[in-house]
Amino acid sequence: MLNIFRYLMLIVAFVATSGQPSAAPPIVIGLDADMSSVAAEGGEAIRRGAMIAIHQLNERGGVLGRKLELVVRDHRGNPARGIDNIEGFAADPNVVAVLGGVHTPVALRQLPSIHRHGIPYLSPWAAGTPIIDNGFKPNFAFRLSVRDQHAGAFLIEQALKQGYSRPGLMLEQTPWGKSNYRAMSDALRAQSGKTPVVEWFYWGTHDLSPQIETLRRKKVDVILLVANAPEGAHMVKYLAGLPEDRRIPVISHWGITGGDFPAITGSDLEKVQLSVLQTFSFFNAPDQRRADAVLGDLCHLFDVCTAADVTASVGVAHAYDLVHILGRAIEQAGGTDRALVRDALENVRNYSGLTRHFDQPFTPERHDALDASSFQLGYYDAQGTIRPLDGSAPPES
């Protein structure tokens, strides 16, 4: 009976599609990210990862017989724009879900709109813990990225592992910074019983020297940085200007990789011992076959043909995996109903992605696909490419 029903459905679908093959609107996946401002490189990486996944899915006939399409809106890191973008996507019935960008503050401000409209929000980058632990039920926010709670613990662990005993936190005065503050403080207390030294800064600041000098006076031996590219670059430049013996090593959250950090810092980047949180690298991908396939599509679609040429590879990998997971969820939901898709997302299973293999990326209780087991540290080489850090510390500057 079930098989007869399936066949009937297939016939109906065939007739419907063959009668008006071009009438089936594409399934639209929205991308709301900073595409032009401080984290434009991160947004572009996300777009490329999503496009490759869509390309691959469309190559296979799309999802539910419908082509996938990516519609990009630029929020420039501005939450107000992000909210408006969500409103815009929500108004379009073809938009099944929205991919987010680098900025946690934007994502956090979008949450009410997301849940008011009931549109699945997939975060391939923004790491703020509250994005997922947002209190909304049902929770439409999913993330295949770093969770600050995990990242904070990981970075503290890495710092202590590298022999630093007095880490100082340099955090931006945003919800993302606060999210990391809680995570790192908890982790440091848990791992060493100490309370971290903390300095805050605002977006748009051009001088981090007071905070850095405060950390120096407090005998900090490593700085754990939570910042985007512009503010992170100001800190690197200041440190590079100090005598070598006064420079403090930096272990950074990956916010700096969202922008063109090597271009902003220039040669100063080489003078500072800097390692950065990563979840994926084409240089040590867990599934090299899939990684090579993605690199092939990157080369085909975006003329980026080597692992060294890929900018913000985590954004590419996370978006790529999220779109594939979304495709499966749509298929599982049997349509683009957002609520059904949301539910389906919690039930996707056995997905071998670029980042890793997921038995079940999301569950009703867990909307973070990744945990600390996927974390690693990377460093900028002389060409500005982020490479995996094999040892316990990045190369000496």
Partner: protein, 580 residues
């Protein structure tokens, strides 16, 4: 009589003469300058008002620009930027931060941070503006431009807030109309600046007195699109003009005072030297001997006057002296002329008388001969003829004397000295007189004379003859006439003729050799007064001189001294030889 000058007198005179005219001139100058300056002042005031209004407008525009710059600076503050992205920032720090901001010296001014579409995020006094206003301003701000516009007669300045390079928000500040006026109007300026729509006209309230119309200057604000600044200046020209008039009146009074003081000073400075000068004049008037006026001190005019006066006095003294000398000479010449005229008249009278006597003798003897020539004895006839001949000789001598005197006066007598024996010359003359005056005793002692002496024999014969003739004429017949010739110690030839006659009064000795003079003792004795004059003149030609000693009633001695001319002639030769 020249009177002295007193300071008070001179002051009153000068003041009377100068002050009215000077005051009149000052008044004319005052009025003229007032009129001219009033026009000039008004022009200047107009120019200045225009400049002031323009400056005030520019100042207001600069203040607006500074204000907008300040607000843009606030918009660039990282707290504001962060406020756009930080969830809950508006409740935690953004609103307190905005409330703490004082702009343009005003605190608690309405300020709002809006998102990229003009929707308020944080701020205060939201009720003051509508979303449509915010949207309208945001349309312009989103293009990166600032908004300067009016809102409920207040000023609204909206500036973009950038994240990275993009406009992601808007900061809007509103100033009330009162705050706007305070912002735009310079402190202390006598005007105000209003910000109005470019199409509007500002109604300016005229002053109550209506004397001066406020001056306006409009300055469009291109950055605002449709606004303009209207700078209004309330002129104080009238009061300033009155100040000017007042200042000019004060200047007039001060000029007058300065003039009077100047007159006092000038009079004081002039009076002293002038009085001194007048004193000199008075002394000069009184013919007092006075020192030269001091022409080295005092005002230059007085010095020049004193110099001229001194020069005048000096010249006048010279003129008076010369005039006196000339008068003396003239008087002397006149006296001399009078005397000569008298002597001449006396001479003419005497000559007539002298001529008449021999002529009468000749006439009487001739008549006797005519009547009695047949009866007279030959001896008697001879006596008559002798008398006639004697009278003729006397007439001849008389005429010769007159002619000699005439020749002497006309310089026709030639001096022709020759060496001769003086004794022979004297003997010859004595012999003639003995022949004529046989009854007279004439003694001549001539042995002391040199054998040879240089003289004009003709002239010297006349000299000796005149002296001998006078001695005979003015002495009794029985008395002796003595002629002595000698040589003095200094080589002069001395010839003296003495008589025992009537003598000459001592008082008349000095005039004795003057022409036509005759001594008072010669009255009744025929004579011309020419003889002694000729003697002195002829002896003078010989470089000699005549001396006379006489005692009235006893006799006289006339001595002629002739220098040795041969010694004079030889001297140069001897000198030459000694030198050679």
């Amino acid at each position: 009589m020249i009177k002295s000058v007193t300071t008070s007198g001179l002051l009153s005179q000068v003041n009377l003469r100068v002050l009215p005219a000077a005051t009149l001139i000052l008044i004319v100058i005052w009025v003229t300058v007032s009129q001219v300056s009033d026009h000039v002042f008004q022009d200047e005031v107009t120019k200045k008002l225009a400049q002031q209004a323009e400056s005030q407008a520019n100042f207001a525009r600069e203040r607006l620009e500074v204000l907008a710059t300040n607000i843009r600076g606030i918009a660039g503050n990282d707290l504001i930027i962060n406020g756009l992205v930080d969830t809950g920032a508006e409740t935690r720090y953004l609103t307190p931060f905005l409330r703490s901001i004082a702009i343009g010296g005003f605190s608690d001014i309405p300020i709002i941070l809006a998102d990229y579409r003009g929707r308020p995020i944080a701020g205060k006094h939201f009720y003051l503006w509508s979303q449509s206003d915010l949207n309208s301003w945001n349309d312009q701000v989103s293009q990166g431009k600032s908004v300067i516009t009016l809102h409920d007669a207040g000023l609204v300045i909206g500036v973009p807030v950038h994240i990275n390079k993009f406009v992601e928000g808007m900061l809007v500040v509103r100033f009330s109309p009162e705050e706007l006026r305070t912002l735009l109007s310079p402190i202390g300026a006598n005007g105000q600046v209003d910000l109005i729509s470019a199409n509007d006209t500002l109604d300016v309230q005229l002053p109550a007195d209506g004397k001066e119309v406020p001056f306006q200057f409009e300055l469009p604000l291109p950055e605002s699109g449709n606004l303009k600044l209207v700078s209004t200046i309330y002129p104080e020209a009238d009061s300033k003009a009155s100040y000017l008039q007042w200042f000019m009146f004060v200047a007039f009074v001060l000029d007058l005072i300065a003039l009077i003081c100047g007159i006092f000073a000038a009079v004081f400075l002039v009076t002293r030297p002038l009085n001194c000068f007048i004193t000199h004049l008075q002394r000069y008037q009184q013919n007092e001997d006075m020192a030269a006026f001091n022409d080295q001190t005092g005002p230059s005019e007085i010095r020049q006057l004193a110099f001229a006066f001194n020069r005048f006095v000096s010249l006048e003294k010279d003129i008076l002296r010369e005039r006196s000398e000339h008068a003396d000479k003239l008087k002397s010449a006149l006296d001399r002329e009078k005397e000569l005229n008298g002597l001449q008249r006396q001479f003419v009278s005497m000559v007539c008388h002298e001529f008449r006597t021999p002529l009468a003798v000749i006439d009487g003897n001739a008549s006797r001969l005519l009547r009695r020539h047949q009866t007279l004895a030959p001896e008697a006839l001879e006596k008559l003829f002798d008398k006639i001949r004697l009278s003729v000789r006397r007439l001849t001598d008389l005429m010769e004397s007159v002619l000699s005197a005439a020749r002497l006066e006309s310089g026709q007598i030639k001096f022709d000295p020759v060496a001769c024996n003086p004794a022979e010359i004297i003997e010859e003359v004595v012999a003639n007189h003995r022949e004529i005056n046989a009854e007279r005793k004439i003694d001549a002692e001539l042995d002391q004379l040199p054998a040879e002496f240089s003289m004009d024999t003709k002239l010297m014969r006349q000299v000796i003859s005149n002296l001998v003739s006078n001695a005979i004429k003015y002495s009794p017949t029985e008395s002796m006439v003595r002629i002595v010739g000698s040589r003095t110690d200094d080589g002069h030839l001395a010839i003296s003729v003495s008589d025992e006659g009537i003598g000459i009064p001592k008082a008349e000795l000095d005039q004795l050799f003057e022409r036509f003079f005759r001594a008072s003792t010669s009255t009744g004795i025929p004579g011309t007064g020419i003889g002694l004059h000729m003697v002195k003149a002829l002896v003078g030609l010989h470089d000699g001189y005549v001396d006379v000693t006489s005692e009235e009633g006893t006799g006289s001695t006339f001595s002629v001294y002739l220098p040795d001319r041969s010694a004079k002639l030889l001297a140069p030769t001897l000198q030459y030889e000694a030198v050679a």
